[in-house]
């Protein structure tokens, strides 16, 4: 299968290892990767802020560039939800409505793609650590990917998964919410970090680097020993 990899801006600039791991895993499974270098952003930040005109401006190149793609895979539940769930709404009644729906139908969040589309759970990975999994809200509730990452982690050699209290509670990132309502976002993140630390895990694993950006920032400030890692990096570990 020819897979177009959509790489969100923060993965590109801050967490390139996530995308590199995804490439490694998908190529190992025998697929061809195409990276549309022209694309940087799905348009979610202006969309969530209410600036839908600007969001459409960001999203139009994505629709255009990916219109012939066979399948699009994203290593983020949040950007995945933007393209899969919110593009059709953003372009409802616009000339691009049909294109938005077509793209939504062939776009996949990474763990969902592996488990649901490819039917693969065992990637031969080994990660001998105790981990806890943080559900990113967009993945969990917009894309309904609760079980997929857990199925994948269950097959990783040496990995012990310990669920944290209220695993499904938001970490408080929420995009621009994290700076517009910084004290609320921080309080939510502190609750999340405390629940994660309580498990005694070495790593907080998530399918969304945007949540981890915030959680890692808090952990760093609080000097907690627990670290964060994207699930793709875990699955690419040998």
């Amino acid at each position: 299968m020819k897979i177009s990899l959509f790489v969100p801006c923060y993965i590109d600039a801050i967490y390139p290892k996530v995308a590199i791991s995804m490439v490694r895993i998908l190529e190992k499974l025998g697929h061809t990767i195409e990276f549309p270098e022209e694309l940087t952003c799905c348009g979610q930040p202006p969309f969530n802020s209410g600036y839908w005109d600007d969001a459409r401006k960001s999203a139009r190149p994505v629709l255009e560039r990916l219109k012939d793609a066979e399948v699009v895979v994203i290593g983020s539940g949040s950007c995945g939800a933007m393209m899969k769930v919110f593009y059709p709404e953003l372009f409802a009644g616009q000339p691009e409505e049909a294109a938005a729906k077509t793209l939504a139908a062939k776009t996949w969040e990474f763990t969902d793609f592996l488990v649901t589309k490819l039917g693969v759970t065992d990637l031969g990975a080994s990660f001998p650590h105790k981990v806890t999994f943080h559900d990113g809200c967009h993945g969990l509730r917009e894309l309904k990917t609760k079980q997929q990452p857990r199925d994948l982690l269950a097959k990783v050699r040496g990995l012990e998964l310990v669920e944290m209290k209220e695993a499904e509670t938001c970490c408080g990132f929420g995009g621009t919410f994290a700076t517009k309502y910084a004290s609320v976002s921080t309080a939510m993140g502190e609750v999340k970090c405390a629940s994660a630390a309580e498990t005694g895990a070495d790593f907080i694993v998530s399918a969304d680097s945007s949540c981890l950006l915030h959680v890692q920032g808090l952990l760093g400030r609080q000097q907690r020993p627990i670290k964060t890692i994207h699930i793709a990096e875990v699955l690419a570990s040998e």
């Binding site: 938001c170 919410f177 993140g189 760093g220």
Partner: protein, 470 residues
């Protein structure tokens, strides 16, 4: 980022900032909600199919609203046939005037209220107290909040933020009772005070959870029995209710009462679900001689006119969306400054009281969707927060924020420029240490509580280029 700081917005930020730093508050609310989680979700698990029940409830409400006019007429016809007096009010002022007029006609002095959220909405208590009436809230939580001089913290659990010690102090100050930290003894103090109030009251004011069209009934849900006493002993009963609360049929309650109880408190049914079908009838032994049902619009028709968000009128005020909301749990109910707190309040308040003044509540969400997932009548809550944000910008585009997003889009649509800016960021990032923890820090909103991530030595884009040329 907003240009004009409206009073409600400033108040929200000020209160939220204070409460989010109050670790005792956080502990107390987390503990209370922890109990809620256990009882609610274990009760929900007993349903043969909760999701199908939800869909049925949502469709019933949807169909009820689609014919709201017919159901209200139907209710009116059935209720008046049994001697109920029905009043229609568009605004808070009109509703207050109708109620004061009824009180005056009966030369009433003493008024006992059971929980009426709509009366908070129209600020009825303040007016009645100003006019010199003896008004008392009879729901325990509401009574405590009345003594404290504070609005309800949560529209189902009005004083959940108070400790037993604080309540004991309140009772000592206002009632002169001895200190006790036993919740049962504290409850009994209120019971003793309030019992005589029901008996002596001239007027009882209640709210309503459901308006049943086909029988002309209203249904009131409660645990304490205070609403039942309020509707049994005073000579005159007034019920203040929003026009959206209709259910077409009496039998619809068979679904809605257990769903309200399960989602609200995790009970099989709330202690008392009482259906009133008129004032005291000729062959009956007690009850009010007059019953007035006062319908309130207060911009509900504005929300009704928005088909995208009309489902917010499905709300049965169970409070579940507050209980699962991580924002509510961290900012607390009073920070909202609204009658209805939490996600449902953030959705409907802009419709009721003005979008520009209340849009900050729709912004105060990470859009996590826990509210939508838990709602027993399937209100698309978190997406409506998004819709409110969009509507606010379409109505009045922010100047600074508008510039920011224009710049953002400009940059993101130019991948080479984006790439360059990342490289620049990498070069300049070490200099950030110079301004970090000062007000010159451009990322202060982030760095006040969080470390900044480090920009990678090689972006994925660069890695890919290197790989392709290999």
């Amino acid at each position: 980022m907003s240009e004009t700081i409206a009073a409600p917005r400033a108040q929200f930020f000020q209160d939220a900032d204070r409460i989010t730093h109050d670790l005792e508050h956080r502990r107390r609310i987390q503990a209370a909600m922890g109990k809620y989680y256990i009882s609610r979700y274990s009760r929900q698990a007993l349903f043969r199919d909760w999701q199908e029940a939800r869909q049925t409830a949502a469709e019933t409400k949807w169909a009820a609203l689609n014919e709201l006019d017919k159901h209200l007429e139907n209710f009116e016809r059935n209720a008046t046939a049994r001697g109920t007096q029905v009043h229609w009010t568009s605004t808070s002022e009109q509703a207050r005037a109708v109620i004061v007029d009824i009180i005056r006609r009966h030369n009433a002095r003493r008024i006992v209220k059971s929980k009426v959220m709509t009366s908070e909405e129209i600020h009825l208590n303040q007016l009645l107290v100003e006019l010199g009436y003896d008004v008392i809230e009879s729901d325990l939580g509401e009574y405590i909040q009345q003594l404290k001089g504070e609005p309800p913290y949560h529209f189902v659990f009005p004083c959940m933020h108070l400790s037993r010690e604080e309540i004991s102090d309140l009772f000592e100050n206002h009632l002169g009772t001895a200190q006790t930290h036993d919740p049962e003894e504290l409850t009994m103090i209120a019971r003793r005070v309030l019992r005589q109030k029901y008996i002596d009251a001239d007027i009882g004011i209640t709210g309503a959870n459901f308006v049943v069209a086909d029988t002309g009934m209203i249904s009131i849900t409660e645990n304490e029995g205070n609403a039942r006493l309020t509707a049994a002993l005073p000579r005159v009963m007034i019920t203040l209710v929003g026009i959206e609360k209709v259910l077409p049929k009496f039998s619809d309650l068979a679904l809605f009462l257990p769903m309200l109880a399960t989602a609200g408190t995790g009970q099989p049914l709330t202690g008392y679900n009482t259906m009133y079908a008129g004032p005291r009838q000729p062959d009956e032994t007690d009850g009010p001689v007059e019953w007035h049902v006062v319908f309130l619009d207060n911009n509900r028709t504005t929300l009704l006119a928005d088909p995208q968000q009309r489902d917010a009128l499905h709300c049965i005020r169970c409070g579940a969306c507050l209980n699962v909301c991580p924002i509510f749990k961290n900012v607390g109910g009073l920070s909202y400054g609204t009658t209805y707190q939490g996600p449902i309040g953030s959705v409907i308040t802009p419709h009721f009281r003005g979008l520009q003044d209340w849009k900050h509540l729709s912004g105060a969400s990470s859009l996590c969707g826990a509210c939508t997932e838990t709602c027993p009548v399937k209100i698309d809550l978190h997406h409506h927060l998004l819709h409110n944000r969009r509507n606010a910008v379409e109505e009045k585009r922010g100047f600074l924020e508008g510039m920011l997003w224009r710049g953002f889009t400009f940059l993101m649509n130019r991948p080479k420029l984006f790439s360059l800016s990342i490289k620049m960021g990498r070069i300049f990032q070490p200099l950030h240490a110079l301004v970090k923890d000062t007000f010159l820090d451009p990322a202060r909103a982030w760095t006040k509580s969080r470390e900044l991530p480090e920009i990678a030595h090689e972006s994925f884009r660069d890695y890919w280029k290197r790989r392709q040329t290999k």
